[in-house]
Every structure is written in C-alpha cells, then in structure tokens.
C-alpha cells in the first residue's frame, strides 16, 4: 500500500507546497514527515499541504498532521491546507485542526493569502 500515497514538494510564491495524492494513512507517515522536515531544514516559513479532491484521510492521517502542527508551532511556521473535499474540510473543522492550520479551498487562494501578509 505504500504506493497509495505520493508526496512531493515544490517552492512557489513564498511558500513550500507539499502535494499529497492518495491515501493519507499510517502508510504515509514517513513520506509526509520527511517532506515536512526537509522543508523545515530549508528554512520554510509558509508550508501548504495541498490535498487532492479525491484523497482519502483517516484518523491516523489526521494524527500525522497533528504531529506536524505541534512541531510547526515550536518553529513559528505557518501551516495551510488546501484542496480538501467538503467531507474532509468538515472533519478537519470538527477535530479542531483548523485552529492551527488555515483551510483554503484552493491552492491559489492560499498563495494569495500568503502574498498579502508578506
């Protein structure tokens, strides 16, 4: 099942964008943490987790993201999440993740918000 997730990172308009395509579950833990740590080592300040509309995320995946929120707070980084389906936007709100990582429907809106506050 390791093939079920693809994690890639790129830098654009002042933000590190981590693209997630597939199932965000325990199997994704290593790849996501790796991408986050690489970004941090590079001194990233704004980090966007860019999901795909048809990604699936379970509670183990949410736990991975909570772990990253915890570290991002220590490093004073700004976390953003984009591209989530309505269902997972709702779950992120229910769980309270949105308090620590701003949700934007699209990547474009997230990038615009970063440019505004720059």
């Amino acid at each position: 099942m390791t093939d079920d997730i693809q994690v890639t990172a790129r830098f654009e308009r002042g933000a590190t964008i981590i693209d997630l395509a597939g199932d965000v579950t325990t199997f994704a833990e290593e790849a996501i943490n790796q991408a986050y740590h690489d970004a941090s080592s590079d001194g990233a300040h704004n980090i966007i987790f860019n999901f795909r509309e048809d990604d699936y995320i379970n509670s183990a995946g949410i736990a991975i993201l909570i772990g990253i929120v915890t570290e991002a707070r220590k490093r004073d980084q700004r976390l953003l999440k984009t591209g989530l389906s309505e269902h997972f936007q709702k779950i992120f709100r229910m769980v309270g993740l949105t308090q620590y990582a701003d949700l934007y429907p699209t990547l474009e809106e997230a990038l615009a918000s970063i440019e505004e506050t720059a």
């Binding site: 579950t25 379970n58 309270g96």
Partner: protein, 169 residues
C-alpha cells in the same frame, strides 16, 4: 417472487492487515450508493467503516494478518446496518468515548491519536460495541437510517427483467 422488503446482506472477510480496510470502505460505499444515500452521507459512512475496520485490525487482531475481520452490511428499506467483528485478540474495547483534546495533543500534553471512535460517532446515526458476543470477539455496530428522500429505489422492484435464457440482454 422475492418477498418485498427482503433484507440484502453483503458479507466481507478481510485479513487483519492494514490496507484491507479499504476493501470494506468501498464495499460499504457501493451498497450505500445502491440504496440511494446522498454523496455526503456516503462519505461519512466510508469514514466510519474505515475507522471501525482499522480498529478491528489494529486493536482487535493486533495486526496479525492470519486473523480475519468480518464486515456485515445489511440493507433494508429503513436503514443500512453494519457489523464489524474482530477476534478480540486485544484488550476489551472502551465503554465510553471521549472527545479528543486536540489542544492538549498539539501542546504535547497528551499523545496524538484516539480520534477514531469519536469520529465514527459523528458520522453515523448509531455506533456501539455489542455486549455478550459468544464468540469471544468484539462486535461493533453502526447504523445509518434512510431519510424519506433516500427511501425510494433499490427496494421498489425496479430491477430489470432478467431471465437465464440468454438472447438479447
């Protein structure tokens, strides 16, 4: 021919190995779609079934792929009733479900995780471990009721005529 309101049951047995919960989640979605549930409720159902099976694999079978998790999806005109059975190889499941304290997790005051059962509760109409299973395993039950809107289709005898004589299909 077939008595009206016959319950339709789909039974699924998966190895107790993470990854196979996906088969259960998709089977549940297909059955729910067939019953006319809305896309939103199908998403919720998928999350509930996925979490329940993940627990049955991780906690109820200690991720031993030689064990099995059984999922029963029973549909009638009123509801979709889902039973997730595991061999009960782990500790007893909890009797209470507490809302996760995300703030405490983020501030490092409590370990991350513990979201599954709470999340399931938010997704379906009923969710609970059944007591007194003779088999010694755990049985976790989830129900979603059909709204009046969803209660058409699938039970209204609208299947196409199908004979076994071949010819024009």
């Amino acid at each position: 021919m077939i008595p009206p309101n016959t319950t339709r049951v789909v039974e699924l047995k998966i190895p107790s190995e993470l990854g196979y919960e996906r088969v259960a989640r998709e089977a549940a979605a297909t059955v729910a779609r067939r019953l006319g549930f809305t896309p939103e409720r199908i998403d919720e159902l998928q999350t509930a079934v996925d979490e329940a099976c993940t627990n049955a694999i991780r906690h109820g079978s200690k991720s031993d792929a030689r064990m099995k998790v059984v999922v029963l999806l029973s549909a009638d005109e009123k509801k979709l009733d889902i039973l997730v059975k595991d061999p009960g190889a782990g500790d007893l499941p909890p009797t209470e479900v507490v809302a996760p304290d995300i703030q405490a997790q983020v501030e490092g005051r409590s370990p991350t995780g513990g979201l599954g059962l709470w999340l399931i509760r938010q997704m379906v109409d009923e969710a609970y471990f059944m007591e007194d299973d003779e088999s010694g395993g755990n049985q976790f039950r989830m129900i979603i009721y059909r709204t009046t809107d969803e209660s058409r289709s699938a039970f209204d005898n609208e299947s196409p005529s199908t004979d076994d004589e071949g010819g024009s299909e």
